[in-house]
């Protein structure tokens, strides 16, 4: 320990003492010097003690009287007080008593310095006044040094602890402040988030409203469309139905007229005209019947069933074979799949397609009609192919129209509804239908059957395959 003797100004001169050494800066490693107060009326004793403890390197303040000591004590903090007992006027005990009176000096360590001879009485009195220790004169330097250094260390430790506590307090205050800051910042952010959330909720609600409005509008439109469609179909149907009676009667009278005129002489022209009237009446009747069938197809939902197409095609071909008599037709029916479809409707579609093939191959000496399946773009496609008269692809868009024909009535009979029926049936199944042909090189009709998911299960009423006399068995 460096012996740094700091001379303090004479205690008898009342000059204010600067407080040396107490360092309140945060630097822990600065070990400030402690103050030691030496109180003795005799200067030689003061100096002697000072000399002994100067090795400790602390600040030594000398006071010549109890009064001076008190004065110093008011101005500075001391680690320990070495207090002579025998002093004139105010002795050590009285001084100690007065020291202890001061609130902040209650715990300052006081070491009484006294001669051996005053021992016992002094001891107990000293302790009762708050002394912590005694030093007996003649002073043993080592003992004194040791005792003093203990209190100096204690003082230093206490100061350190105080400093640390202060630093902790500061740190804590700072932390608190930062926490407060953060909390405030968070509060602000939170507030703005809340606003955002509210806004978002509002927007979501708006969107939800718009969506449900839209859905409602879609529902309304769909209902409107469905009603309009149904009304149209009903209209078509009832018109067609009501037209049938007078057409039938025209036909009837036409026939009767023929009979009547058998015996009458008529010019060729007159007969021809009458013939034409009769024929056209029949065609009109046929068209009305076709319109009826057509409207009935779209009017109804149908039950889909798993159906093997080969069995349907087989039935249709068998029926047609009966009608064509001894015409030569080569039938090539390939392996057809089993699909979900409406039996009556699909039968109608095949009937129309195959009848067309039969009709338009009439000019051929050997007609070839092929029915099979193929794959186009990974989709399964059914086709009906013939080697008949074909048609010009330029007019292909008219093929499936109602009453549209690409051939004359004289060349090939028909009203032009057969393919319209096919198109509607296929469309009802969610599929597509199209054709490819070349004039005089035959034609191929392709169709797909859309999604194979079962549709609604309203009870289906199948349209009749033909409009004709139905005579029930009476057995």
């Amino acid at each position: 320990m460096a012996s740094s003797l700091k001379l303090v100004s004479d205690p008898d001169q009342s000059t204010p003492i600067e407080n040396p050494g107490l360092d309140m800066v945060n630097n822990q490693s600065v070990d400030s010097k402690a103050n030691i107060l030496v109180v003795d009326d005799r200067e030689d004793k003061r100096l002697a003690i000072e000399a002994i403890i100067s090795d400790l390197g602390q600040n030594i303040i000398k006071a010549g009287s109890g009064r001076d000591a008190l004065r110093y004590l008011l101005e500075m903090d001391f680690a320990v007080i070495l207090l002579d007992v025998n002093m004139p006027g105010m002795d050590g005990f009285e001084t100690a008593f007065l020291i202890r009176q001061k609130k902040n000096l209650e715990h300052v360590p006081i070491i009484f310095v006294t001669a051996v001879s005053d021992n016992e009485t002094h001891l107990s009195r000293g302790y009762s006044l708050g002394a912590v220790d005694y030093i007996l004169t003649p002073v043993m330097p080592d003992v004194l040094r040791t005792k003093v250094s203990v209190f100096v260390e204690l003082f230093n430790t206490t100061q350190q602890v105080r400093r640390q506590a202060e630093r902790l307090r500061q740190a804590r205050d700072e932390l608190e402040m930062r926490v407060k800051q953060r909390t405030n910042e968070l509060a602000v952010v939170n507030a703005s988030l809340q606003v955002e959330v509210v806004e978002r909720k509002r927007v979501e609600e708006e969107i939800r409203l718009l969506n449900s409005e839209l859905e409602q509008r879609i529902l309304d439109r769909t209902a409107e469309l469905r009603t309009a469609n149904e009304e149209l179909e009903t209209f078509t149907y009832s018109i067609a139905h009501d037209l049938r009676a007078p057409l039938r009667q025209i036909h009837g009278f036409s026939k009767l007229l023929d009979q009547e005129l058998e015996s009458v002489t008529l010019s060729e022209t007159a007969r021809k005209y009458l013939n034409r009237i009769g024929q056209r009446g029949q065609i009109m009747g046929q068209m009305v019947d076709d319109l009826l069938s057509l409207s009935r197809i779209t009017k109804q939902d149908f039950d889909r069933q798993q159906l093997n197409l080969n069995s349907i095609v087989g039935e249709v071909v068998a029926g047609i074979k009966m009608e064509i008599g001894d015409r030569k037709i080569e039938w090539r029916v390939g392996d057809l799949p089993t699909v979900m479809c409406g039996p009556g409707l699909i039968r109608q579609a095949f009937t129309n397609l195959i009848s067309n093939a039969v009709k338009y191959t009439r000019p051929r000496s050997l007609a070839v009609i092929e029915i099979g399946k193929t794959s186009i773009n990974n989709e399964m496609v059914i086709y009906v192919r013939d080697n008949g008269v074909g048609f010009n692809m330029a007019h292909a868009d008219k093929l499936f129209g109602v009453f549209q024909r690409l051939h004359s009535q004289e060349a090939f009979e028909g009203t032009g509804v057969g393919l319209a029926v096919v198109a509607r049936v296929i469309r009802k199944h969610g599929g597509k239908v199209w054709a490819e042909a070349k004039e005089n090189e035959g034609a191929t009709f392709y169709f797909t059957l859309g999604n194979q998911v079962a549709s609604t299960n309203r009870q289906a009423k199948e349209p009749p395959d033909q409009v004709s006399l139905i005579v029930p068995s009476l057995t």
Partner: protein, 144 residues
């Protein structure tokens, strides 16, 4: 040697004058089938069959052996007549429904209400001949 065919009396109920005309023509050549009365609607038919009012005189308006009954008529329809007939005790009276309708539901309903046969009005000869064959079958089944 065929026994002489019994003469059957037929009541024709149809609101269309033309259709009644065609039926008359069709039955003209059948000597054993005679149209004994022609009526225009269901109400008249019910009145005739009950012998009400002007139809009370059975000499003038004999009870028929067979009825041709149109479906679509004003006032009371063919179905109404069928329903009424079910409440009556004319067990021997076969009814042949005439209609322009090919709807299966009309056919089913007619049979359900007791029709003996259902005929779709037609103008062709062949179909008329078939109709006549049906009528004869129906009449043969009648107990004498």
């Amino acid at each position: 040697m065929n026994p002489p065919k019994k003469k059957y009396q037929i009541l024709l109920v149809d609101d269309s004058e033309d259709d009644r005309f065609f039926m008359r023509m069709a039955l003209q050549e059948q000597s054993h089938l005679a149209i004994v009365a022609e009526l225009c609607d269901g109400e008249e038919a019910i009145a005739y069959l009950s012998g009400q009012g002007c139809f009370a005189d059975r000499k003038m308006h004999p009870f028929p052996d067979l009825i041709f009954l149109d479906l679509k008529m004003p006032r009371k329809s063919g179905f109404d007549v069928l329903v009424w007939l079910k409440t009556q005790q004319f067990s021997q009276l076969p009814i042949v429904v005439l209609s322009g309708s090919f709807l299966p539901e009309d056919m089913e309903k007619s049979y359900a209400l007791g029709a003996a046969a259902y005929h779709i009005k037609t103008a062709t000869r062949e179909e008329q001949a078939a109709m006549i064959a049906t009528i004869e079958k129906v009449l043969e089944k009648k107990p004498r």
